[in-house]
């Protein structure tokens, strides 16, 4: 594994960026400043950050309704994201998308998606496109353990395997799908077994270990760039919070989440421990990164609050039919 100090620091910083972003998003939702519904990625930071650390800037990702983490991990601008959450003109979508529809085409972020499994075929098509255009781009398709039950996964995954497309299906097994545990809804013992039916090997990874995710995805990226086709990775993780902000969580055993928030399991604490014990970081450095990330998110909130509402005339902008 070849992660230099700067890269490790960047990954750690991004994990905090996500955690602070989500805690502010939750607060803004509770203040009624964020409309609709908002899904937080808290506790799953290692998946997006580890995976995107293995990508180049011009590689692609498709994201989900729980997309803030993917976007930040791929380099998305927290100011424009926060402005989008507040529906402002300066937001990524000029206030027309909101939390579930953030995209940054310049960073290869082909969009969060309000349709569960909605990114699966799109990611596969982006990989087809990379192949036809002869670029060496790869695509990571993030999707949930609930989305794994969408039929499109069979269709698109089969085609990716048939034509050796450079796409990585990265299932985030956070153990819940909306207001139910996900486990009672798949007949296989382990989700990665699904990959067999697609003509791929299913690779499980500890989704709370950012370095494990990075290494697993890095190898998949290498295979994809070498023309060896798609991969199917299942990252085992845990959704700390409710499905949406405001979820009463009646379906979750009391005390369960706390077991995932311990220093041994919390993905940020785990990575911090590694950085101190094995990579020569001082605890003060880590704390400084945490505070810098918090300040960046605070500035993003301020930027969003200070930004103008979109002009009413923009209702008709980008309408062609």
């Amino acid at each position: 594994m070849t992660l230099d100090r700067a890269k490790l620091a960047d990954m750690y910083y991004r994990m905090w960026l996500i955690r602070h972003f989500e805690s502010r998003a939750r607060w803004l939702f509770q203040q009624d400043l964020v409309r609709g519904s908002t899904h937080t990625y808290t506790g799953e930071e290692a998946v997006a950050v580890g995976a995107c650390a293995a990508l180049n800037r011009d590689d692609y990702i498709t994201s989900t309704h729980r997309g803030h983490g993917h976007c930040l991990a791929k380099g998305g601008d927290p100011r424009r994201m926060m402005a989008e959450l507040l529906g402002k003109a300066t937001g990524y979508c000029k206030g027309k998308g909101g939390s579930m529809h953030i995209a940054d085409l310049d960073l290869g972020i082909l969009g969060a998606n309000g349709i569960v499994g909605g990114g699966i075929a799109i990611a596969t098509g982006a990989a087809y496109s990379a192949k036809v255009r002869g670029t060496r781009q790869v695509v990571i398709c993030f999707f949930g353990d609930g989305a794994a039950n969408q039929g499109v996964l069979l269709e698109a995954g089969n085609m990716a395997a048939l034509w050796k497309l450079p796409v990585i299906y990265l299932c985030e097994e956070n153990q819940y799908a909306e207001f139910s545990p996900s486990r009672p809804f798949f007949a296989v013992e382990r989700l990665e077994q699904r990959a067999l039916g697609l003509g791929m090997e299913g690779i499980p990874v500890d989704g709370n270990d950012v370095l494990a995710v990075y290494e697993t995805v890095r190898q998949a990226v290498e295979r994809a760039r070498a023309g060896q086709g798609p991969s199917f990775i299942v990252a085992k993780t845990y959704r700390w919070e409710g499905h949406t902000v405001g979820d009463p969580l009646t379906y979750r055993p009391a005390g369960e989440a706390e077991q995932w928030k311990t220093p041994e399991r919390d993905p940020i604490a785990r990575f911090g421990k590694y950085l101190v014990e094995q990579a020569g970081f001082a605890p003060a450095e880590l704390e400084e990164m945490n505070q810098r990330a918090e300040a960046e998110i605070e500035a993003a909130v301020q930027f969003a609050m200070d930004s103008p509402e979109p002009a009413i005339a923009t209702l008709w902008e980008d309408v062609y039919a």
């Binding site: 692609y60 498709t62 937001g91 990524y92 979508c93 000029k94 206030g95 027309k96 998308g97 529809h101 953030i102 995209a103 085409l105 082909l110 969009g111 998606n113 309000g114 349709i115 909605g118 699966i120 075929a121 799109i122 990611a123 596969t124 098509g125 982006a126 990989a127 087809y128 496109s129 990379a130 192949k131 036809v132 255009r133 039929g151 499109v152 069979l154 269709e155 698109a156 089969n158 085609m159 048939l162 902008e317 980008d318 309408v319 062609y320 039919a321």
Partner: protein, 327 residues
Amino acid sequence: MAVREISYRDAINEALREEMERDPTVCIFGEDVGRYGGPFQVTRGLYERFGEWRVRDTPISEEGFTGMAVGAAMTGLRPVVEIMYNDFVTLAMDQIINQAAKARYMFGGKARVPMVIRTQGGAGRGNAAQHSQSLEMWFVHIPGLIVIQPSTPYDAKGLLKSAIRNDNPVIFIEHKLLYVTTGPVPEEEYLVPIGVADIKRAGDDVTIVATSRMVHFALQAAGELEKEGIQAEVIDPRTLKPLDIDTILRSVKKTGRLVVVNEGHLTGGFTAEVAARVQREAFDWLDAPIMQVATEDVPIPYNRQLEWEAMPSVADIINAVKSVVYR
């Protein structure tokens, strides 16, 4: 300009071939479109010319390959998807409605989805309820989709070329019974602009707006009506969305009477939409109620007589015209 008589099918084939020669990012996805040349032989010869990456035989996975086209379109290709029968769009609907149609607007204007979905619809061939529908209005209803239904080889070729060059998703609905029809098509390259209706026949007494194969029914009806001294103007919108309402309104303001013909079902259909807009924008010019000629609100039956009874006929159009010219 040299003009030949070619079939609707060949005109579409020429459009695909020319655009693929012109632009290496144009790719075709669909079932049996490659080696076999297409279930309706529309893509004949393209696989041999452009190879498997540009003319892709897909598994029977409509949602999968339609969604792949969306992703490919967002990242630099111009895919042309073939959905064998428009009835099968049901399987791909999420990709069309929630993904392709939404991306540009929902993502704030930056995303482009330059893709075409070619499909074919229509009844009259005994294909029964799941292979005979006219589902154009499902798409017309959705902001973000351009909807085209060509009635002639000339329009089919010129409009498909425009559709492929357009930066937005286009639903291009052919008619299964028009593939073998022929018409004049120039040798030279030409485009037909999207969103522009065509007056297929001029007349002063009544306006008939008709789409797809119904244009030919309307022209036949107009020929019969002429014998009785009724001059019908036949307008083919060619593009259903965005609709060239101005051409229709101009005609109605001249004739004062309107019959709308469409092969989709009557309820919630194209005829109702045109009628609503015309009464809203040209009420004072109307001398008679607007008449609608559309397919009955029943699934398309298999039996020949039942099928014909369900569909609009030339006689239905003639009767509708007579009822508005009060003869």
